[in-house]
């Protein structure tokens, strides 16, 4: 069985640079949105638009119900209770929320303790922790990666065993496609009294998740990479932990009572949702997750793997091509360098042929440095990509290489 999902994504009919049919392979940056999501957004605005959680009238109740129903959908998607789902602006905000709330909750006791991340993290899972370390005297420790692009698990275990307060790790690398054994990392964290955070941005696009099985204290992802809209993200927090954490932003909805002398806060998840939420975004993300749940994820994943493998096989015909990160299952992400050719030149010429890929450091400069690279050319596959896309990618690639000598 093969899913042909293209017709559900109107943008895929586009041509760019005049007459070049679009081949969109920059899915790790953001995915296209199915009609179901666009319809959900339009429907909301045309039928039920009102502020949520501010009670009162019929539209307000509808908006609140839709917003909370989206929370329930996300909860089911992660195998978690709705109360453990906090809506944020995006994955970056979710990680910043955690870093700031941890700073405010544990404060001075973090001095001298370590925050453990890895060499393959996205800037969004590096810089907030650097800021936390600077402000608290905690120490940033970095799990090394092996040459095949996998985490050095022995190093991970060492770092987590020694005075670690928080470990925050990507479930899947946005550059290499590596899937990390976060279950084991979270187990170690639990054993050593550290909090564990998993950055699921790339993983959730291709795989089923159960936060229970992972055993993490928090799990974050953004809407726009998982077929949902921009401006919305998810922070799952273990309920017992959310109850302990200090609020992040302050404002409407997250309060219980405000006087100029003292303000008390609402219970989670609302405690972490200050101000008018992105109601539309939550509803759109709910629609995206429902859409995703309506197709067989295993079939789609297999399909993505076929497309990815066709691309890798074709690339390896070129003897100057080096695939970065070894020979594991790639989950739709391919990063390459070509000897003697700058990735940006390739990206530019492929774009001229309608093929959208990403070149550069992919917001993972430390990983680039570790790999001794200026950048890579990254192609990333989503549910709607076909074998035909793989062939058009390879044709554009070959032609670009020829032009660049």
């Amino acid at each position: 069985m093969i899913y042909d999902l293209r017709s559900q994504f109107p943008i895929l009919q586009r041509h760019v640079h005049g007459d070049k049919p679009l081949v969109y392979l920059d899915n790790a940056a953001t995915t296209q949105k199915p009609k179901a999501v666009l319809d959900a957004i339009a429907d909301f605005y045309v039928t039920s638009n009102a502020n949520a959680h501010r009670g009162g009238h019929a539209l307000g109740a509808e908006a609140t119900a839709l917003y909370e129903s989206a929370r329930g959908t996300i909860g089911r998607f992660l195998n978690a209770a709705p109360e453990s789902v906090v809506f944020t602006h995006g994955a970056t905000e979710a990680l910043n929320l955690l870093a700031t709330s941890i700073e405010r909750t544990y404060g001075a006791s973090l001095r001298g303790k370590s925050i453990v991340i890895s060499e393959m993290e996205h800037h969004a899972n590096i810089v907030p922790w650097q800021v936390l370390c600077e402000r608290t005297g905690a120490l940033l420790k970095v799990i090394r990666i092996c040459d095949d692009g996998s985490l050095d698990m022995q190093h991970a275990q060492e770092l987590i065993a020694h005075n670690c307060a928080v470990v925050s790790i990507a479930h899947m690398s946005n550059v290499l496609g590596t899937i990390n054994d976060v279950e084991t990392i979270c187990t170690w964290a639990r054993e050593h009294g550290a909090h564990s955070i998993v950055d699921g941005c790339q993983f959730v696009v291709h795989n089923q998740v159960s936060v229970d099985n992972i055993g993490c204290d928090a799990y974050v992802f953004g809407g726009h990479k998982v077929y949902g809209p921009f401006g919305i993200g998810v922070l799952y927090g273990r309920p017992e932990w959310l109850t302990v954490l200090e609020p992040y932003q302050a404002g409407g909805a997250m309060i219980d009572n405000v006087t100029f002398e003292k303000t008390t806060y609402a219970e989670p998840p609302l405690r972490f949702e200050a101000g008018t939420p992105n109601i539309e975004g939550a509803i759109g993300l709910g629609a995206a997750i429902n859409w995703l749940s309506s197709i067989d994820r295993k079939t789609v994943a297999d399909q993505e793997t076929s497309v990815t493998e066709a691309m890798i096989d074709g690339l390896l015909q070129h003897d100057r091509v080096r695939v970065i990160g070894g020979d594991y299952a790639r989950n739709g992400i391919i990063s390459i360098v070509v000897d003697g050719i700058h990735a940006n030149d390739l990206g530019t010429l492929m774009d001229e042929q309608g093929v959208a890929v990403r070149t550069g450091h992919h917001c993972a400069m430390p990983l680039m440095r570790r790999l001794g690279l200026q950048g890579t050319l990254r192609a990333s596959v989503a549910a709607y990509n076909s074998i035909d896309d793989a062939h058009r990618f390879l044709d554009a690639f070959s032609r670009s290489c020829r032009m660049l000598g």
Binding site: N344, T348, E352, Q374, M403
Partner: protein
């Protein structure tokens, strides 16, 4: 030729190459014609910020006329650098300062080129004009 005239000439040349492949082949060839960049200036100090590739730009003042050494590690960008050298190298600071920022648009380069290059172009022009401004303000 004035800056404007040079730009017009270059624009006409590119417009005469309606096929993207010819256009890029020409740009790449221009890059290959760029003089060797002096290695002693290949440092962060001379890197142009805001380009997706590495671009180095080193200004020289020869009797009130500005010359630039320039290079990039990416071929297409190097071609664009060469193109800008055609426009700006060998001009007085006053001429450069008086020219406007929107050369990339006037050259219709943005519509002939993939967007990230165009972005780098803006950063390079900004840097060139900054040097020119600095020279004209601080001239000995």
């Amino acid at each position: 030729m004035t800056i404007i005239e040079t730009i017009e000439q270059l624009a006409a040349k590119l417009a005469g190459l309606p096929d993207w492949e010819d256009r890029y082949t020409e740009i790449i060839a221009m890059g290959k014609g760029l003089p060797l960049y002096p290695e002693e200036f290949r440092s962060d100090q001379f890197k142009v910020k805001g380009c997706q590739s590495q671009v180095w730009l080193h200004p020289r003042n020869e009797a009130g006329v500005l010359h630039f050494d320039a290079d990039s590690d990416a071929l297409i960008v190097k071609g664009l650098v060469a193109l800008l050298m055609n426009v700006y190298s060998g001009r007085t600071p006053a001429e450069i300062v008086a020219s406007n920022d929107d050369i990339a648009k006037e050259l219709s380069l943005e519509q002939h080129l993939s967007p990230n290059r165009a972005n780098g172009l803006a950063s390079m022009i900004k840097q060139i004009r900054l040097y020119a401004l600095a020279y004209s303000l601080l001239k000995p």
